[in-house]
Amino acid sequence: MSNNEFILEMIKISKEFPGVKALEEVTLQVRPGTVHALMGENGAGKSTLMKCLFGLYKPDAGEIFLNGEKVEFQNAKEALDHGISMIHQELHCNLFRNVMENIWLGRFPLKKFGPFKFIDDRKMYRDTKELLQNLNIDIDPRAIVGRLSVSRIQSIEIAKAVSYDSKVIIMDEPTSSLTENEVEHLFTIIQDLKKRGVAIIYISHKIEEILRIADEVTILRDGKKVGVWPAAELTNELIISRMVGRDLTHRFPPRENKPSQEVILRVEGLTSPLFRSFKEVSFDLHRGEILGIGGLVGAQRTELIEALFGLRSIASGKIYYKGEEVKIDSPIKAKKMGMALLTEERRATGIFPVLDVLENTSIANLQKYVKPNKLLDEKKRRAEGKRAVQMLSIKTPSLRTLIQDLSGGNQQKVLFARWLLTEPEILLLDEPTRGIDVGAKYEIYSIMTDLAKQGKSIIFISSEMPELIGMADRIMVMCEGRLSGFVSGEEATQENIMRLATQFMA
């Protein structure tokens, strides 16, 4: 069945949950010294497959071979001991301790002193330094992890994986919170790892990235393997059509919204009290318009729209809503005015993980269900929740399912549902498609276009330039807190957005 051409083989893995076939005879074969991309929409079975590998789930059928030897791990620790490690999307580091303690946690080098054993700090420092130098990572081993940037913490996790002498490293959406420069750095490290014969299983939704970095691509759909191809033979469109199972000739829905001349929101000279935040930002938002905000990470786009929603304070500047000057000092006020905000960090500031879909959908709109006797109109709440779930085709077993059990795309749609129930005039969307698979992205785009067609106005932030160009009627580009210019949707290209996004950089 197996030979040593592959370092890791998962042969015909099947896993069934009550009512769902999560995996059906899925085979994944990874060669040493290559980057093997694992792709598929959310719910296609990528994470189930990885959980089977790490022994978190016990597969119903199938075998796993490492270096030609049959293995069956009971837990992640065993997998780690056999040279398989995983870099999670959410990083697991102790932010209060320093770099070397995080890397060697649980296996500190010890020195004997009489009958006692102490941690050998000097050896740990030397080992860490050597490890990091080998990987060309320039971090002081004594730096406190919490003070480092996300990308640096990630490289520490990679270093940790290497320190375990890992032969297979799994990276789950490693670039989702990195800036472009940081992505470049990650790719250099990956190239380096390849040279050492390490195999990398790279899980990502970003097709452009996969095409650049991957050697082979395995695509899953609905728990089945669609196939495996050398990356060189694939294109953007091919990957999408194989993932989705139908031809997605258009990544974006046709623009059917017609922005009117009416200005619904006017912002004049908005300035943050913080020194390094947004300054002197002025713009108009028209009824029925989709206004994109482009820029690099750190351009203070999130800060700007959170200030519009009353989550952050403003030092100076004026906001006019439907021609009248308004002061928005709290989300309560913003909501009353008819604004809605989908935040960037869905987990941290969006969903209520321990509450169910219905509660998550209705929470911003409860006052509409309060009966004269002060109790909630449960029937109406349920009916509207159900309607919203159907309207946005949210895939959930029931309204009583906890939102944390849904896929990222469906969670995002629940958040859309929450705000649509409040019947807003202006929607502020911060990276609305972040961490969402291609099919669900298209649905989110359709929702946005539909809303704009109904005369709602949308401001959305995106770091994916194709998305800005494909969706926005107008793109406002920011750089280091300042507005660097507008580009119309038709004229926008990656080049002119990029030029504006770096306009004020030294």
Binding site: I332, A348, F352, L355, S362, I363, L366
Partner: protein
């Protein structure tokens, strides 16, 4: 088949662990002393736990938000002393207020509950407006309330003597029953049940209740959703205070007296009751147990 059955049994045990332990305890105690299973004894258990239930229902909302209230027990003590001091029988010799006329029952009770409501509100205000962790804020309140209660209790002519000789109408509230004999139902148990029903309705059927779950589930998401966090927190703590007040009044009525040490560390029972009853100590999860 065998494996599925095993899983099912395991699942049943983990889901119902608390009831299984309870049944085991009852069986064990009954084995040691069979009289435990008598109606009289069960009735006593109900009466004695009634006030604790009310305290637990007050602290329930606070724990739902991910907070804690360490001042609960001392608030109970304050309410007990306040209400008892104003509700002594006119014929009693060592009265707290020698010249106080006999007040209508509701007035001292209302005063005691209001004082605790205000104390609770202050807790909520400090937590919500100044961002002081609930543990710290309510620990401070615990000490303040005990101090205030002790000073009050030490006022001449009482001079820290236990307050006794309570008005009969008042003790009737704590010890009286509907019906006679073995199967009579104590008022105090009925009050606890009524409070539980009201709290259940508030938690599950009102906007306020949903907001509490949301704040406990993810406070940042609640803020973004346009929920007034500060206002809700103040209401939660104030409501809890009122319930401690009620519990304190009933405790005085039940025992027929009060000292400044009443209610000491009752909050620990109440917190334990909530957590054992399935309220997540990190917030957001939990139901009113069906008493």
């Amino acid at each position: 088949m065998g494996r599925i059955n095993k899983d099912k049994i395991k699942n049943f045990i983990t889901m119902n662990a608390i009831y299984i332990v309870l049944v085991c305890l009852i069986i064990g105690i009954a084995f040691i002393d069979p009289r435990f299973l008598s109606i009289v004894c069960l009735r006593d258990v109900l009466i004695q736990s009634s006030t604790r239930v009310i305290i637990a229902l007050g602290i329930f909302f606070i724990i739902l938000t991910g907070g804690v209230d360490l001042s609960a027990g001392r608030q109970v003590g304050l309410a007990a002393v306040l209400s008892a001091s104003m509700l002594q029988a006119p014929t009693y010799l060592r009265r707290f207020y020698p010249d106080l006329p006999q007040l209508p029952l509701w007035l001292p009770i209302l005063i005691a509950i209001s004082v605790c409501l205000i104390a609770g509100f202050i807790n909520g205000f400090i937590v919500a407006r100044f961002g002081v962790p609930p543990f710290i804020a309510t620990l401070g309140m615990q000490v303040i309330i005990y101090g205030a209660n002790s000073i009050y209790f030490d006022l001449p002519p009482n001079n820290s003597q236990p307050i006794g000789g309570l008005n009969e109408a008042f003790t009737e509230l704590g010890t009286g029953t509907i019906g006679q004999g073995l199967y009579s139902i104590p008022y105090i148990v009925i009050i606890a049940i009524v409070v539980a029903v009201i709290v259940w309705i508030i938690a599950n059927k009102t906007q306020f209740g949903k907001n509490v779950y949301a704040i406990g589930g993810n406070v940042e998401a609640a803020r973004v959703s346009g929920i007034n966090i500060a206002k809700n927190l103040m209401v939660i703590y104030a409501m809890a205070g009122a319930l401690y007040g009620l519990a304190g009044v009933l405790e005085a009525a039940r025992t027929g007296g009060a000292t400044n040490n009443y209610g000491m560390s009752y909050e620990l029972d109440a917190i334990a009751a909530c957590v054992v009853g399935g309220v997540s100590a990190t917030g957001g999860v939990g139901k009113v147990p069906e008493y």
